[in-house]
Structure formats: structure tokens, C-alpha cells
Amino acid sequence: MSAHSPIRVKTLTIDGRECGAREDQTILEVARENNIFIPTLCNLPGLSNAGACRLCIVEVKGVNKLLPACVTHVSEGMEVTVNSERLAKFRRGILELVFAERNHVCSVCVTNGHCDLQSMALTLGMTHVHFPYRYPRLPVDASHERFVVDHNRCILCSRCVRVCDEIEGAHTWDIMSRGVECRVITDLAQPWGQSESCTGCGKCVQVCPTGALSEKGKSVAEMSKRRQFLPYLTLMREGRR
């Protein structure tokens, strides 16, 4: 008898299109294979999924709540709606809440023009923020020799936490507190420059979707992220296990 149980194939429809999928795949993966666009911010190929940003919410027939496509596995006969007026409205709302939560001032940001959050707002047609801004007073930690974390621009996607844990294996980053108090931290909320676990590899900076993590000395609009390395690293590390 084989050590592997055979992977079963499921069929489902996404926006009326029939799609075949392996049973261990998520709706997001299947949609991407079929060139169906679902907006995401926290998802990054090569990292595990966290379901943090909720932009990938979809409607599934027979389920009375919206499900995040990145962490919802397919099942036989599933009827998924990815594009609808209602979803578009909710996604814009989610994005507006992200903008209202902290101080995202694109014009003077190091990643202006190279920012996932900014381009997502354009993609989803977000023209205004209909919620009052919170304008929290958040610190900038520039204690690291080469990198800076600006909590004003963090959207709590947790990409930095995952890349540090899953790829680099250092688990320097984590998230503390709950709700609006949530914040990414290094080690036990020490200044980044004093972190003993940080290897200074910079992967967190490259995967960060916004200007929250950036290289020191990069001027406004100069920080573009390099992420090409991620799939290769994942592949190589899996191969060696």
C-alpha cells in the first residue's frame, strides 16, 4: 500500500466558471490558476496564509457569511462568487478602515509609487475614506543599523512575522496586544536594534507591503521592494527537508 493517500480532485464553480481543483487547495489558489482576480494584501506566495486582511472575502452558496478565499479549502460542488457589488463594497470598506486606522500619508512615504496598499486602493477604486481617521500617535523605531519600522504605516498583515518565522527561521517578529492596540514587535517588544534573534537578513523589509518596514536612508518614493527571492528560497528549503 502506498504511503501517500491519493489526492482527490474536486470540481467547483467560481463566478459561474467550472474549475477543477485538488482537495487541499484554497479558493484563492484555484482562482489564481484560472486567472480569476481576488484582491489580497496579507497573502504572499511562498508564505503561509494568515487570513489577516480579509480583502479576499468571497460568497459561497449555502453559507450565510463571507469567507476568506486564502484560508478556505475547496469542496465538491462549491459555488463561489468572487465579484459582486456587495463584495466590492465590503472590500473598499475594509481598505478604507485600513487607511483610517493609522497615518498613511503617501506623498511623503518612502514607498510612494511602490506600495501594495496604495495600488490596491487604486485597483479597488477607493476614492475617499468614509470613516473618521484615528490619527494615532505611533513611534518610529530607527534603532536598527540598516532598517526602520514605522508603525504609522503598518497594516498588520503579518507578512514580516511569517517570513521571519517560516523562511529565515528566526521568529524575531511577532504581534502584541489586541484590536486597535495591535502592533508588530521585535523579540519581546524591545527596540529592533537590540534584538538578539534578528539576523539582519532584511526579508521582512522586502515582503512588507507598505512603507512600514524600509531600508534606512531611502528617501521619499525610493523604497521599492524586491521579492523575487521568496519562491526560490521556499523551494530550496523544502527540497532539503
Binding site: D141, A142, K216, G217
Partner: protein
């Protein structure tokens, strides 16, 4: 007749928001005059806690007319925090950018904001006394002005990627070198721009006769003059020593630009958000001084480009000592346009104009940095303090219009005393009160690092303070 107060609100055709109030005594003579800047912004405060290398772009947001001036002064302050000597190539490109900025701003001030007064007359109908009126009365001149400003803005775009708020000037140098294509585009545009500048100068010199009374009364009084000069005393807009000159044309002192704190002080008045600076050794109000084109042409020993030098020699013959009437700011502005064009041409003909080494890298090596440069309106100072990690802990900006504030206030008083009589207000009187402000080309959004709009309102008040009449100009 009771004492009165006249308020001009808002002051028009200037950059920012202000009003003027004139206090009249029982005989209807102007007793006191105030230039109130009514906007407040707070850049010095909200930059605290931000990384210093964001400052050039952040501070440039103070102003959409002269973002480049702020970029330059701010980047120089950041260079000092890095403690680097930036590459020669970067200095050259920053100089070209700064001159292009001066060119476009001067063109805006002269052609768009002041030519309506000069061409159509101080007493002409306010409804058409604007750039559209100029287009009708003298389309060629309006076109010249628009073209000249466009050229200046285009140079900024070719160098820095965009016209307004480029992020190209960075601590340690500039973001990218100049391409051969863009150098050639700039050089190709210079002859036409020089022709425009020459035409405007010739026209202005001809017209000066008509403005004798304005020349006599437009902030025409002895003050000190301040500005950067090169090591050899030549005209300088990027770096050098700070020179103070007295009204007689004698050099009072040459100082290191970074030691401004030793000889300049600022005071705040309750009637304005714009602080007033003065020369410490003389105290306030004796230490009043002027900056900007008029001051720069007064303090220098020479100009360094052929055509502008000739014009400068003619200009300096206007007075025995320093040229004192602020009406001549316009004249000085036109000479500086000529200079900027000639100088840009010289800089771009430098054999290493396309040098690719344009940025020095370093981390925080000083916890304090001061950057001083000449903006279109005068000397601009950015002063930052940072913590060990490079986060701003304190910032102080002194802006051209702040240096000129005391002189502007006195100028308003002088013009008002000369032209405003009794309780009968005419629009032409009030326009002259505004026009004296325009000679300084104040930038109020900059100088308050604050928020606002500039057009003028005049209030007429009794000595008890009751409002008798208000006049708005648009």
C-alpha cells in the same frame, strides 16, 4: 473726525493669506500699519519623530511654488547630519535645479502677479487688473511670462522627474544623474528664454519713469541687506558665507552661514502668525534687514556672468550706496532671471555635467545640521536636531519672508502714509498698499510653515476700535 482703522483683507496676487490694517488718527493721517499673516501650519512641530532623510520631501510640502528651495536647504541640513561632502556632480545639479526654481518663481512673481499693476496701472480697474487683463492688453508679454515660467518648471522636471514636489534631492546628493538628452533639451531652450528676459528688462527700464512716486515711497528706507555670497563676494544661491551690508553699501560682516543663531533672532507679534527676524547686534527694530533679489544684488561684489553683469552695473548706479527702494525688487528679479539662465548654461557646459557619481552614502554622524540656501525670495534656513537613530527631535526654519517681515511692515506704513488720506478710500490707494507687499514677493505659506490663501482686506477702524469700513480686494 474720529480715529479710524482700515483693513485690506485679503491681500491679492501674493502667495498665501494676509490682511493689512491701517490705523488713522483724528486728522485722517495714517498712524500705524500692520501686515497680518493669517495662516498657521506647524511643520516645525509635526516633523518631530520622523527620520531625518524624509525631511527634504516632507518640508518641500510647505510650498507648491518653491518646493525646490526647501528641498535644497533641507537636503543641505541633512548632508550636515550625515557629515559628508557631497559629490561635485551633485552640487552642480542641485545648483541648476535651484536656479531653475528661481527662474520660474521670478517669472511668476513678475509677469503673473506684478505686471498687471505695472502694465495696466496701479489705478486701473481691479476687475481686469490681473494676468487675463495683461493677456488682452499685451498678449506678447503675457505669452513671454508664461513661456519663461514654463521653461523654468520644465528644467525642474527634466532634472528631477516632476515639476512640483520632486523627491530627487536627497541627503547626500541627488537621486540620479542628468542625461545627455535632458542636458541638450535645457540648453536648446536657453536662447529663447534669454531673449524673453532681455525684452522684459528693456521694457521695465523704460517704464520706471512712470513709477517715480512709487519708487520714492515703496519701502524706500535704509535697512541692512542680507544674503549668501561666494568666497570671492560674487552672486551665490547655493552655498557661501552670509553677508550683511548696510544702507550705505558698506559690508557690516561676513558670517559662516551655519552660525545664524549668533547674529539672527526672531520675535513673534500678536497680530501675525509670521515671526519677524532681526539682526541681533542692532536689536529690534533697528536690526531690520531685507533679503531677496534686491538684497542679493546689493551685497555682491560681482555677478560672474557677462550679460547679467552689465545689467547689474547699471542697476547699482541707481543709488550711491545700496539700492534702497523696494520697488527695485522687480528690477533685481529680472536681472536674476538673466543671471540664472546664463549660469545654468555655464553649469551644463561643464565637462563633467553628466557625471554619474551624484550621491554620497552615510548614516547619522552629527546630531545637528543646518542648511542655508538662497530661495527666490531670499535666504532660507533649515535647522534640524536628531537623536542617535536619526529621528528629528527639533526643527527650526527661517524663511525669506520672515527676514523681510519687519521691512514689509514698515513699507506698508510708508506707502499708506504717502497714498492713503482721510476717510475717503480709493481702490488705487489700497492697491498701492498691496503692491508694496508684492514687490517683496512674499510667500506666506512658506514663511508661516502654516496654512492659507493670500488676498487682501483693508479695515477702517475708529480709535476706539470700532469698524467703520472694510474693503476687500480680489
Amino acid at each position: 473726525m474720529p480715529r479710524q482703522k482700515i483693513v485690506i483683507d485679503p491681500v491679492t496676487r501674493i502667495e498665501g493669506h494676509a490682511k493689512i490694517s491701517l490705523h488713522l488718527d483724528e486728522e485722517g493721517h495714517v498712524e500705524e500699519a500692520y501686515f497680518h499673516v493669517t495662516q498657521f501650519r506647524g511643520f516645525e512641530k509635526f516633523c518631530e519623530g520622523r527620520p531625518f532623510y524624509e525631511m527634504p520631501s516632507l518640508m518641500a510640502r510647505i510650498c507648491g511654488i518653491c518646493p525646490v528651495s526647501h528641498l535644497i536647504a533641507s537636503a543641505k541640513a541633512c548632508d550636515a547630519i550625515l557629515a559628508v561632502r557631497i559629490p561635485e556632480g551633485a552640487v552642480r545639479l542641485r545648483r541648476v535645479l535651484n536656479l531653475a526654481q528661481i527662474l520660474q518663481s521670478h517669472a511668476l512673481s513678475f509677469f503673473y502677479l506684478s505686471v498687471p499693476d505695472l502694465l495696466l496701472g496701479m489705478d486701473s480697474d481691479p476687475a481686469t487688473r490681473n494676468v487675463f487683463g495683461v493677456m488682452e492688453a499685451n498678449p506678447a508679454m503675457a505669452k513671454d511670462g508664461i513661456r519663461l515660467r514654463q521653461f523654468g518648471q520644465q528644467i525642474v522636471e527634466w532634472l528631477a522627474g516632476k515639476r512640483i514636489h520632486p523627491a530627487w534631492v536627497v541627503p547626500g546628493g541627488v537621486g540620479s544623474p542628468l542625461t545627455a538628452e535632458n542636458r541638450d533639451r535645457i540648453l536648446a531652450g536657453i536662447p529663447e528664454a534669454l531673449a524673453i528676459a532681455t525684452r522684459a528688462l528693456d521694457w521695465f527700464k523704460n517704464e520706471m519713469e512712470r513709477f517715480r512716486e512709487e519708487i520714492r515711497s515703496f519701502a524706500n528706507f535704509p535697512t541692512l541687506f542680507m544674503g549668501l555670497v561666494g568666497d570671492d563676494g560674487s552672486l551665490e544661491h547655493y552655498s557661501g558665507k552670509l553677508r550683511f551690508l548696510d544702507a550705505g553699501g558698506h559690508i557690516v560682516a561676513d558670517y559662516a552661514d551655519t552660525a545664524y543663531d549668533n547674529y539672527l533672532a526672531e520675535i513673534a507679534h500678536p497680530w501675525s502668525y509670521l515671526k519677524t527676524s532681526f539682526y541681533k547686534p542692532l536689536g529690534y527694530p533697528d536690526g531690520v534687514y531685507r533679503v531677496g533679489p534686491l538684497a542679493r544684488l546689493n551685497i555682491v561684489d560681482g555677478i560672474g556672468t557677462p550679460r547679467a553683469s552689465q545689467e547689474w552695473a547699471e542697476f547699482r548706479d541707481l543709488d550711491r550706496g545700496a539700492v534702497l527702494s523696494s520697488f527695485y525688487y522687480h528690477y533685481a528679479r529680472l536681472i536674476e532671471i538673466l543671471y540664472a539662465l546664463e549660469k545654468i548654461e555655464q553649469l551644463l557646459h561643464h565637462p563633467d555635467a553628466l557625471d554619474s557619481h551624484v550621491r554620497a552614502h552615510a548614516s547619522v554622524n552629527n546630531t545637528e545640521g543646518i542648511g542655508v540656501s538662497e530661495a527666490p525670495r531670499g535666504t532660507l534656513m533649515h535647522h534640524y536636531k536628531v537623536d542617535r537613530d536619526g529621528l528629528i527631535t527639533w526643527a527650526n526654519l527661517i524663511i525669506a519672508t520672515g527676514h523681510n517681515n519687519a521691512a514689509m511692515n514698515r513699507g506698508v506704513l510708508q506707502v499708506a502714509r504717502h497714498f492713503v488720506h482721510g476717510n475717503k478710500l480709493t481702490e488705487g490707494m489700497l492697491n498701492r498698499v498691496e503692491a508694496v507687499i508684492r514687490t517683496f514677493d512674499p510667500c506666506l505659506s512658506c514663511s508661516t510653515h502654516a496654512d492659507g490663501r493670500l488676498s487682501l482686506e483693508v479695515e477702517l477702524r475708529s480709535h476706539k476700535g470700532e469698524l467703520l469700513d472694510v474693503c476687500h480686494t480680489r
